[in-house]
Symmetry: D4
Subunit: 221 residues, 8 copies
């Protein structure tokens, strides 16, 4: 094992410029809690080292600030996702279906889609097919069955992940969302549902973590 330096030290941050080499993809930046100046300096240094940029949970006004210094930075408003692709990735062969239970789950799903795209995976959207009207899902079984991987994004009771899993051969990545009220406890209900799936082939990421789901799906697509 050898740990050459492999990072840039800015004092407040140590940017992992070995990340792409070691892990296959550049370091992504989680934005909440960082000052906008810090974010700007981190982005610049990543770019200088030819790393792609991914900025998650990025507020629009912070994006506008960063845009001034990094004019090529793009932004997906629905997903609050900033990005800049430095090296064009080869398109992966398999597709990833990104499925939501409802319309309110779309921001999280779009974070997954944006992540997939910058990592070179192909996303197919299938939105609003929750269990309250299961025919919407059944009508789209071929979309599900053609996907190499399926991301299921659902809040409230989060039942969709188990159901989809029971219908296909592909692995399912379940993303609970904080959509709901009362006893949804900001996504806890959906999280527990997904962790307790009676259908094998389902794994789970953090509440509202579309990025994590997209990243993992990209690795296996």
């Amino acid at each position: 094992m050898s740990f050459k330096t492999g990072f840039c030290d800015l004092g407040f941050a140590k940017i992992d410029i070995d990340r792409k080499n070691r892990r296959g993809f550049s370091e992504a930046v989680y934005c909440p809690g960082k000052t906008k100046e810090h974010l700007r300096d981190i982005c610049r240094r990543l770019l200088e080292n030819k790393q792609d940029l991914i900025l998650t949970k990025l507020e629009k006004k912070v994006y506008s600030y960063l845009k001034k210094s990094i004019p090529r930075l793009k932004y997906n408003t629905k997903a609050k996702f900033g990005f800049l692709e430095v090296t064009r990735k080869k398109q992966k062969s398999g597709s990833v279906a990104v499925v939501t239970a409802g319309t309110a789950d779309i921001p999280v799903a779009e974070e997954a889609v944006a992540t997939l795209e910058i990592m070179g995976a192909r996303a197919v959207r299938l939105y609003d097919v929750g269990v309250a009207g299961v025919h919407r899902l059944m009508h789209n079984l071929d979309v599900l069955r053609q996907a190499r991987v399926i991301i299921v994004v659902a809040g409230m009771e989060g039942a969709l992940a188990s159901l989809v899993s029971g219908l296909v051969k592909s692995p399912i990545i379940a993303v609970p969302t904080s959509c709901g009220y009362g006893a949804s406890f900001q996504g806890l209900s959906a999280l527990l549902t997904m962790l307790n799936s009676c259908s094998p082939g389902v794994v789970v990421v953090n509440i509202d973590n579309g990025f994590g789901a997209g990243y993992f799906a990209s690795l296996i697509s």
Copy 2:
């Protein structure tokens, strides 16, 4: 079993226009987390398919926006409830008593009442009869006993559901509310109380879910 298409695909939403046929009532729309443009398009498409409109947890300013496109849309301010009845329902024979423990539970109760009314059931209000002054309830026993179904809406300790249940033959639907502070934990206390009722004949819906209580009551009234 046959699943004909039975839905409108708007991309971001798949509107379940088979709902009325399959379930006896149109799809209701839970508003939080949806953009106002999405809500407008969903409403329009439902109307084109002769479905009634129910919009729950609808903020007033979003209502005002929707009103421009759908002038006949009505709004119950207390309940934050938008609605538009397309097909006049036959009035059901039995009545549903909607009972609250306190005055602060009224918004949730009104959501139940509004739901009952658009579904053709008859609601009778009995507000502010909590256990701190039980004579207010006892004085209204005949209202309770004449109801075919009773909805009990209560926050804080939520004790009213068990008490009412012990006095009547009718089924009780208990709605915990987030009214309270401290160890009420946003309705968790009332929810647990109602789930643990020592009096049989009580079922429970989510915290603040007046719509769900009204919907269920309508099915059995």
Copy 3:
């Protein structure tokens, strides 16, 4: 309102012999935490007052003890349910489907069935149709659609209640079970799932409360 005495005072218990008159059905006895002598005396006094007997969560060895004093007492082993019907009830017209997600949910389902039967309702069992293999449910859609009421019993992620609800016109009573491990937290996961159902027409009772579900279903069947 008038509260005549309406109860037998045994000191350690005040038996509610007005229950059948007031609520339509005799007082049921929850057994845990009561001594076997107390249970015996309670049962005897109920019988003297021509009340049916329902004993829930009754351990087999306590049943054997009671059987000596009350030879006609019957016992459903799977449901741990003791009962003795004093007055023959008229069979109700509608049927109640009792549905389980898995085989391990059967004890709770049987508690519901036993309750339905002693209350004069007709139960139809549909066991092991969980979402991991949804064709088992879809193949039995007519059973579901012919039922006036449906009880759905499920542990782990508890997703079945929402799914069934989306397919039928009937009201759904959801019973979470403690079946599962790890993050099922003894039924909490299934409970939250059911409370957060995105499909209206679902109400919930306590974890493992087959009796409560059967009782409520009987009221509305």
Copy 4:
């Protein structure tokens, strides 16, 4: 302020023989987690210092062990309560009503009664008057109204405390019990109910803490 020594040092324990002087009553001993030899030595030393003995949550077989060394030690089996009154207390003038919701709450209620009695207060039992059959309570209103203090012991939903409070002038001490199952979460449900009482005049002690309720009631009776 002066802190004379006021305790016996046994190494593993420092017995507070100043307790009766300072607080009006001897130190009570909570038994779980202490070895039987430790309990024996603590009791002996308390007796030598003319302190009354109260031993809470005392298992019967440990009692039998202690009885050998301390023949006058008495035991309340229902309450798992060991005691030995050294100084005869003057009977207090006011009575304390000890009320339970159900039969399974009796062990905790008896712990309160035993505590009241050794402290010189007069307890009046009123058992099994829970909200499922409220006429049992109403029929005994005079018992409640004659009491100077009321202890309400209830598990499951714990609704009885609020109800009783609403009917009387006296202060209510509410004791949640671990009686129940599922979402009662070993008494958490009843505890939250009682803490959130909408009726003023209710205070709460720990789950199953009959001793604490009896002790406090004795102070104010």
Copy 5:
């Protein structure tokens, strides 16, 4: 038992004008969740029936609104407490010490003080004597020992209640506050501390419930 009407029915509220007769003190009004018009109407009706006014958790701007209709209404800003004493109460003989652990607990303590005063009890303040500097408490032992009842208000770890209890003969009413951060979980930490007091003679009310503590203390002072 007899329940004469004993309440005013305003539709949205049923005002308990029998409260003073039945319980010894007028109905207090918990303000959050009620509209200002509702509050005004409730107050007016209480006044017409010669009941004192207590308005808890009353926002200043709502107070200003009410003041226009009810010019004699007073307001304790620290406690967010509105009040109007209609009948002058006789001063009770015993005093109630209101003790806080820190300065940030004062608003809750003042709610207790305001409640005590309108109910005719005499409050003695002892603020900022938390366990981090126990000599501040020890120096004031005589204040504690002269009180007939002691209210202890504390957030964070809430340790003060047990400590005070161990030093005196009087009953202790413990009020956890939401003061703190992180693992204080909005008062849960202090609540649990107080419920688990190893020192008998301590009872607990809801988090931030200064009113409840004052009310109870008044009953026993």
Copy 6:
């Protein structure tokens, strides 16, 4: 879409004999809560339909019972895992590293290994390389880097998953275990740790769910 029958109806169970066709692998049987007679009948019917057997969380004595009827049934004692491979699977090309933090995590890891093996994947064990002595992990970096997929099994603080993820390109499946005490809350601590991993590429399954991890890993290896 077409749902031919595809299941065997035993009344208490509906065996999903379409599972292998639809999902690529036979239905696995979760044993707790099922009677041994039910388990025997389910196994027989699966075998008649040429499905492999997987029995998770199977107690040894139940295994002995089943062994009488199904002599070829095998058992992994550490993992409490019964199995019988009917169709020989082709060995998959990539390997799966199964890594544990400590020795006490081995039973869960072995459940994953057993699952991998019956599904035709190749497992490489790397046990006891937790973060308290990170050189044990670093010395085995090549094992990690040669794996196509990595399963990380850890209790207590569960920190290992993030650490491993940061060192490799492969996807990580994290399995929290109930190993630990006190604030590990039966695996909750490790579960939360893994869900909050700051290192992308980590997904999570239920506490102690070695089977689920093995199953998912097999799908993507």
Copy 7:
């Protein structure tokens, strides 16, 4: 033991001017929940008694208010930390490494640094060395090994504390932060991780409590 007065009584506060003598350092002031006037008076009185000032969680605008009365008061914006050193402390010999997992943990780390400095300890910052890129930590092992004490500040999964502990001889003080989202539950996840560390030599303070960590580290450096 002797408790001379040792405090200033302001009515709303009892300032512990004996603190420096008794504990070695002046009383620090936790600002939330105190009015700005109260804070000003407390500060003045502390200064009059030659105590250093430490004001934690101090909002900038409150600082500005205080600055008018106490012109020498300084402020660390990142840490929201007000301070004024009255007596110059002798620099301690050992250094304290303050380590963060990420950039968003810096405010809490700076609170620790500021505390260390005013207490005369020497802080060495090592920021952004979380487990997602462990080479950043390994490259700085000598910084860690030269420190007499190490403070580890981390949110999300909080894994860094265990890892650092496994590499060094020094004691580790772990500070969970509320940085994260979803199942981080405002720092609960990191808190549990740190409490369950499998590596001995780790102790924990409250979520976001940089002050507490700095204070403790100062005592032992």
Copy 8:
């Protein structure tokens, strides 16, 4: 940095024989969840490498088994602590006071004492000085003030840690115990109390983790 091998690979375990060199003390073995054969092999290998043995949470019967292979292994019954000191440590100069609130906390305290002793630190016991009779603590202030470090072990409300901290200059290590019932939630109450200490200078370890407290205290004594 260099990671030579530094461990023994037994397959099921990788024994960290570099631990003493790297961290100053040998690896301790947490026993629950390990088979007795595994424990025996781990102990032997540690001994072969001249490491001291510490076995925590070791059941007596497992100890008896190990004793056969390792005759010099000693056992502290109260603490369930196995140990064997290979290298005699030099006695440290400062003492560590180990303080308990009650008698039932002694097993955890003894685990701390046993750990301190094998690590060469000097422990001074001060047991049963909880806040219910604070004079027992005050009488022993000199013991506290002479200690270089203080370990406070307490269950139930855990208030003792804050109180001790307020009286001394030394650092406090707080150990919550699972002693208590009801709302103590197996030590959660005491844990939260200690984390929220208003008195600086307190750090916390896991519930019942006497070993961790002793280990840390030894590092700083």
